[in-house]
């Protein structure tokens, strides 16, 4: 088996070596390790040793000749061996004819590229270095599982500028990604016609970011604290409003100020609180304070948020006084003119969304209160009276209670008192 002796790489930068001296001639027997030649590199003159034993069959280059790196300098083998193949190869490798030169170059680059195509398998940086070969997805499905349309940023922008809806475009990129050329080649007549409803594309509207006002910060902080820290529970009753409606109409005929249903609820609540002091309490961590006064706060919606002005000594005030004062406080609240003392000291809060047609809702307790009453709208409903279904007027109220202070039965007793008051407005006169 004949072997080639090639020009070795004797320095980092050498591209070719010059044979300074041959120490062997054709026909010599050599052993591995024999110094067979001296070669000049770009840095120095160095000795070249034989790697294999054998007979020198052919010396291909003379002293003073330059041989490129890897070029064949000599052939070693057994005497009499046929080395015509190797001679031809040597002829090509050492720059025989220029035509075969480019051919072999092509071959070697081909060889290299086929070597490279296996690179993927052990390349840890798959997303970048892999060649993408064999990854051709023939999928024309352009939406992924989440229904998103895949498109390159450029294609999206082009489609937007041209007013083309991406839903009409077939993507030709990987996984059906819509790319530049798909938008360029798009003709409206070719819009995908399938049986599904065509969704027009809408231009996006601007988002707006609003600075958080001090009031919103306070609302956010206090109500989060209340909702997350105070164990709320809820009880709802449906109050028969028939007598209250009649009573209010009668009162408004004689009253100097208009009495609203809310005023009636406020007054009734205040009187019920006087009878159920545990509802009129606050949790102070180490003690529970039962408040001596009944001060009902009324939630007032304003543009920037919510305010809770307080009616002090509510249980001692007449409906007229409650009405007038509520009106005044609500006006001040809307004008942002409430004084701090007009918002402090509440022992109970009422939030009424009846005017918005809300049937029922649950409110978050206004600290440090123990409870809050959420008042719904008065509804026309069929009710059963004496075994007959008849038209009725009903209003749902929901009491949110802090379970640390108030238990279910206590809340229920309070609600029953409240119901009695509202269903029999005359009781409020007592």
């Amino acid at each position: 088996m004949a072997i080639k002796i090639e020009m070795p790489k004797l320095s980092d930068t050498m591209e070719e070596g010059v044979i300074a001296k041959w120490n062997i001639s054709e026909g010599d027997k050599i052993e591995a390790g024999d110094v067979i030649a001296e070669v000049e590199t770009d840095k120095a003159t160095m000795e070249v040793e034989a790697f294999d034993p054998g007979t020198v069959l052919k010396i291909l280059v003379g002293e003073g000749d330059a041989v490129p790196l890897g070029g064949i300098m000599a052939i070693v083998g057994e005497e009499g061996e046929d080395i015509s193949d190797l001679l031809e190869e040597a002829n090509n490798a050492n720059g025989g004819a220029s035509s075969s030169d480019s051919e072999s170059e092509e071959k070697s680059s081909e060889k290299k590229s086929s070597d490279k195509s296996d690179k993927k398998e052990f390349d840890p940086i798959l997303d970048d270095v892999e060649s993408g070969k064999g990854k051709k997805e023939e999928s024309s499905e352009k939406t992924s599982d989440d229904g998103r349309i895949k498109a390159s940023p450029l294609a999206r922008k082009m489609a937007e500028d041209k007013g083309i809806s991406l839903t009409d475009v077939e993507g030709s990129g990987p996984d059906g990604r819509i790319i530049k050329r798909d938008i360029e080649d798009y003709k409206p007549s070719e819009a995908k016609k399938d049986s599904s409803v065509q969704v027009p594309s809408f231009a996006s509207e601007e988002d707006e970011e609003i600075k958080i006002s001090q009031m919103r910060k306070v609302i956010a902080r206090r109500l989060s604290e209340s909702k997350f820290n105070n164990p709320h529970f809820y009880e709802t009753i449906d109050i028969d409003m028939e007598k209250a409606i009649k009573a209010r109409a009668a009162l408004n005929e004689i009253s100097e100020v208009k009495i609203s249903f809310n005023d009636i609820v406020v007054k009734a609540s205040a009187m019920a609180l006087r009878k159920h002091p545990e509802i009129n309490s606050s949790w102070l961590g180490d003690v529970i304070r039962k408040h001596g006064d009944v001060n009902v706060a009324v939630a007032v919606a304003i543009d920037e948020g919510l305010m809770t002005p307080v009616l002090n000594h509510t249980d001692k005030k007449t409906l007229q006084q409650i009405s007038a004062e509520t009106r005044e406080l609500a006006g001040l609240a809307r004008d942002r003119k409430l004084q701090p003392e007009q918002m402090e000291g509440s022992t109970f809060t009422i939030s009424n969304l009846g005017m918005f047609g809300i049937e029922e809702f649950t409110a978050i307790i206004n600290p440090p209160n123990a409870c809050i009453l959420a008042v719904g709208a008065i509804r026309d409903v069929p009710v059963v009276k004496g075994g007959e279904v008849v038209p009725g007027k009903r209003m749902k109220v929901t009491l949110s209670s802090d379970h640390r202070i108030v238990d279910g039965a206590k809340a229920a007793q309070f609600l029953n008192t409240l119901r009695t008051m509202i269903e029999n407005p005359l009781a409020m006169m007592l």
Binding site: T13, K112, D115, K116, I125, V129, S131, P174, K180
Partner: protein
């Protein structure tokens, strides 16, 4: 224009600057009597003498430190490393002193020093002699990093580096010292640090490549042109500061980008360019930016493995085919 080897272009730059400014001197292993490990400093000892062309012992930390001290005291040293792989031993001087002295001393002094030598792999030299350090040094404020690909760039940029009043790392390549190219014979030829160059114009894809990788990109571009794909090649020439504006302008035209980088993938030039492009040219991208880098694997010694390890034209062509959506 004169045709010069890369090593000659570097030598001319040093020679001209040493002639112009007597504060400039060269030090390093074998730079004087042996005329340089790669014959870069050939003839400089004869011309300038032992005071300005100084052989050092094998002690990277020591002589880099002497260089930094000399720079602090008003000289303008050029420190040659036999390779930047050995300069790791001097990293404390480069990273902690050369790059930070002016900052930490409130501008009372500066460090006009150039560290130069071969960077990255040079064939089968094994894992510890094949590392590309350009991206690593680009991490540190106070250092400029230059990695030219052609003799002309090397000359103009090395002159700028020597005149720069702060530390510069000037990266070369064993495999490019013999590379010939036209060099401007303009008197006092200067290329500013931080300016890239469009080295090939094309409309279909932007290929960013520097140093040795530029030549591989050029091969790929020639091959791609046969298939009717015209690649624009941008050679940033300077890794830091990086001429991202030039790259972004090109990507706005071509809508796709390949970055070829001789570093490992994590946090190299390729990652930085990729990040900046998506930030600056998001709406212009028709495909994700792709990079062609070394794998996250140390340099193998074996020849077939080494060839697999180093980026080549085939990989660039594959990447271009992917971003141009060509089957």
């Amino acid at each position: 224009m004169a045709e010069l080897q890369f090593r000659e272009a570097i030598r001319d730059a040093m020679d001209e600057e040493m002639a112009r400014d007597e504060r400039v001197f060269l030090m390093g292993e074998e730079v004087a009597e042996y005329n340089g490990a790669y014959k870069v400093s050939e003839g400089l000892l004869d011309k300038y003498g032992f005071k300005r062309v100084i052989d050092t012992p094998i002690s990277e930390l020591g002589f880099a430190g002497i260089g930094v001290g000399a720079a602090m005291n008003g000289l303008r040293p050029i420190v040659e490393f036999m390779t930047f792989n050995f300069a790791v031993l001097a990293a404390d001087q480069i990273i902690n002193h050369a790059s930070k002295a002016r900052y930490m001393l409130g501008g009372q002094l500066n460090t006009p020093i150039v560290f130069r030598g071969p960077n990255a792999s040079a064939g089968q030299l094994g894992a510890t002699h094949s590392v590309a350090y350009d991206s690593m040094y680009a991490q540190f404020p106070g250092l400029s990093v230059i990695y030219p690909s052609e003799p002309d760039d090397a000359k103009g940029l090395l002159k700028s580096a020597i005149r720069n009043d702060d530390a510069v790392l000037f990266m070369e390549s064993e495999q490019m010292y013999g590379l010939k190219g036209e060099v401007s014979d303009e008197e006092d030829y200067i290329i500013p640090i931080g300016k890239g160059k469009i080295k090939r114009e094309g409309d279909d894809v932007t290929i960013v490549a520097t140093g040795k990788m530029y030549h591989i990109a050029k091969q790929a571009a020639t091959q791609l042109a046969k298939d009717g794909v015209e690649a624009e090649i941008i050679d940033p020439r300077t890794i830091k500061p990086l001429d991202i504006e030039l790259i972004v302008e090109s990507v706005k035209k071509t809508n796709r980008c390949i970055v070829v980088d001789e570093s490992h993938p994590f946090g190299g030039l390729a990652s930085e360019v990729g990040f900046l492009i998506q930030r600056e040219a998001f709406d212009y991208l028709d495909a994700p930016v792709r990079r062609v880098t070394l794998p996250d694997v140390n340099a193998p010694f074996s020849k077939p493995l080494f060839d697999l390890w180093l980026p080549d034209a085939k990989e660039i062509i594959d990447a271009v085919n992917a971003v141009t959506y060509r089957k």
